[in-house]
Symmetry: D2
Subunit: 255 residues, 4 copies
């Protein structure tokens, strides 16, 4: 079970809702993914006049919990304002804090992210900040009350996978709240690796939405997250330089 | 469907049978893996006096096809001799050619492997040579009639995963027979990556048998192979240096 | 020429002064390195009663510029206090801000580092903050007036080299002050790579001080920094997947 | 000193002569590189009617030893024929065996390379085979008398550097003749790494000839090879996950 604040999830795959080729493909991909948490940009919502054909209208909101994000915010103030709008709409009290400090690479601003997290926790949101892979910042975010930490594996939409698995491991080792690897996941192997390292979940969007076949990829990601989680719990073999015979000649079972 | 010679398999995960903590754990791991092909060292078999408590006696041989390997062979002659023994026993006509040229690291001997493959094909075996990641040798093995190519990801039992994904990709691009990545797989993420690169299957042993919980890891590997296969067919996103917003603010669907 | 604040250096290799087997080896290593900047921990200095046999007493201070660091500081306040002590001693007005936020891995605290940098710039120090590889934080450090940015390649003393060359490249692309790669350099190849990526300099300590032969390694590092700088200016070939004949048969010179 | 057969070299950088922008740039690059061994494709030579403006005519042949290669050969027979031509011309008795088995990626044919090496050793050439990174094949080449082993780091001209440093290390550990890393070197950091791993030399061509400024890059490569060699002899620090303070506060020298 993935526990974030008061919420409990069976699935450890969180899915974004942007950039699908069609609403139909999106719906089927969401279903195949097995996700229980859907994230979307608050800025995309016209909260007063929801688009008829939007995905929110088609969702069975009993099955999915919404995780609005503050994408588009360039300061703590903007992030806080967007989060309040989300709450006012009655959609949810979880918010993914996303304050971009590098427009070209969509990298998060560590200072503004920490500030927005602190303020939103004070306002009693369930706060999941999107951050880089800095282990110290991850600690600071927990100290101000973040309910989960969402370190990026590599730049958003880059599909580069986990660049710095060492620092990601440090974050996971130290964390007392769930760590959900966010941004940069490109393929199931990346998602599996995140889980093998001990992450509590994976959030992704482009890797599914922009895949040749988003529905099949959604299923692939679902299986990969489960595979990685199983491996983490099972305990993988150590890496070693020297080989070791797996087809021994002396006996069938290793006593 | 994975087609090797005349055989058809639903599962793309091939499993070794060595070094499990117990026969019971082995049985359950085999079952959870969903595998249809079990490999084992011919040298371990006392073909005249099979051990009472051996895994072969417990197997429902209608569900699994046996892939004996020539582990322990140090020359083409020895490999051929072992393969003939396997056939004489009536167990199977598939054989994994494994001729080690480096005892310390259990790396295959390219010359003897090619020679043994050529001779066993002439003797009408279904031949799956274990080889390194040399794309030219992989071509030569196909030219002498190998029914599948089994390149190693890294040394046997090392758990290092795929060291040279470039050369593995070359082998896959050129192959007209199945490519089954063998040796070195340590975790589900490695197995998924092999399949994402376009491999037709994965063979592993230590990663499951030596895992803390072999049964759970067997299931993890099964899911990872499926995940990687799905991703290969679906078409993953390209890796790019620059980021791309997955939470666009301008619209829900990417037109 | 490496320009930091008002200072000009021919050498792009900055050297730490800790942990050498002996003062004699240290002296010779410093000389072989060709460095013009020596860094040391202010906390090690008993500024009132300098040790007779300390390296400072043996240095020809006309040849080397001192770069005291605030190692040991756990807050912006402590870093500022240490920097003021350094200035009071008349040793130098450059300071490397080092505020550790993770004692186990010696990773810098992004928030306190930014705060200390801002205050020390206001007090008219020449400020070189040691930071992680977060491109946004690197921008923030420049905005408050840092005279150079010192991103870590990997944890201090780990010898792991450059883990995230992508983010290091981002920092270099954006920087309007020198970028000096600090921490984690283990071998000349790491130092060369840092320079090839476009870094303006490299700071290292353990890789030389703890090498089997620190004097030879110091020379190796000097050559590597020069090699990497030459390559950066010369323009390296692009990496490509497909091979290209370097021994063409059609002509000696590539028209 | 690098000893290959009866020859002794101070420089450990071997340079190819193909694809330079001009003969003048080539001459200056050769000079800056400090190389003592120049390799060139025998097929390029019209041995009866040497081109007036060829690099051979301009070389001071007392300063450089020529290492003709059999580039263009697709079989052992062709390689042997080319080598005999070289000897007949009186140019040299060293030959780099290069038999390509994959035209698209210029990867060596392991079987034909071994065969050509065996035959040329019998004909009393000094034989340096270009091979992949297969440790067992490297052993076989030594067993038939190769005077040096030239494993490729990655495909010729690809600039990808050393993909499989583990197998390269295995080759070096086992070798009783010099190991000269050949093919794929893209930058000084790659050359330094090869030497740090314990290689006896580096051969490269495109990385210099196709650099923006070949002359500066030649100097960079020279320094990098020296740097890597120094580091290998000096003994680099171990890589470790945990950090270690290089600016200790308890004392200046590590007792």
């Amino acid at each position: 079970m993935l526990n974030i604040g008061p919420y409990r999830f069976q699935s450890r795959l969180l899915l974004g809702t942007g950039k699908y080729p069609s609403l139909d493909i999106q719906s089927r991909a969401v279903q195949e993914s097995g996700t229980e948490v859907l994230t979307f940009a608050l800025q995309r919502l016209d909260l007063d006049q929801p688009t008829e054909e939007s995905f929110l209208n088609r969702l069975d909101l009993k099955r999915y919990r919404l995780l609005p994000n503050t994408a588009g915010a360039r300061s703590a103030d903007e992030a806080v304002r967007l989060a309040r709008l989300a709450r006012a709409s009655g959609l949810c009290d979880m918010v993914k804090v996303e304050v971009i400090g590098d427009e070209k690479r969509l990298l998060p601003d560590p200072i503004a992210t920490l500030e927005a997290t602190r303020r939103l926790v004070e306002e009693e949101f369930i706060v999941l900040p999107y951050t880089g892979d800095d282990p110290v910042l991850a600690q600071r975010l927990q100290e101000v009350g973040a309910h989960a930490i969402m370190p990026g594996a590599s730049p958003i939409g880059s599909g580069q996978g986990i660049i710095n698995s060492l620092y990601l491991s440090f974050i996971i080792q130290d964390a007392s709240v769930p760590v959900i690897v966010d941004a940069g996941i490109g393929a199931p192997s990346d998602a599996a690796l995140a889980m093998e390292l001990g992450a509590d979940g994976v959030l992704l969007n482009s890797a599914v939405a922009h895949a040749g076949d988003p529905v099949a990829m959604a299923r692939g990601m679902r299986l990969a997250v489960e595979a990685g989680r199983l491996a983490h719990l099972a305990g993988r073999i150590a890496k070693k330089e020297t080989a070791m015979a797996s087809s021994p000649t002396e006996g069938f079972v290793n006593q």
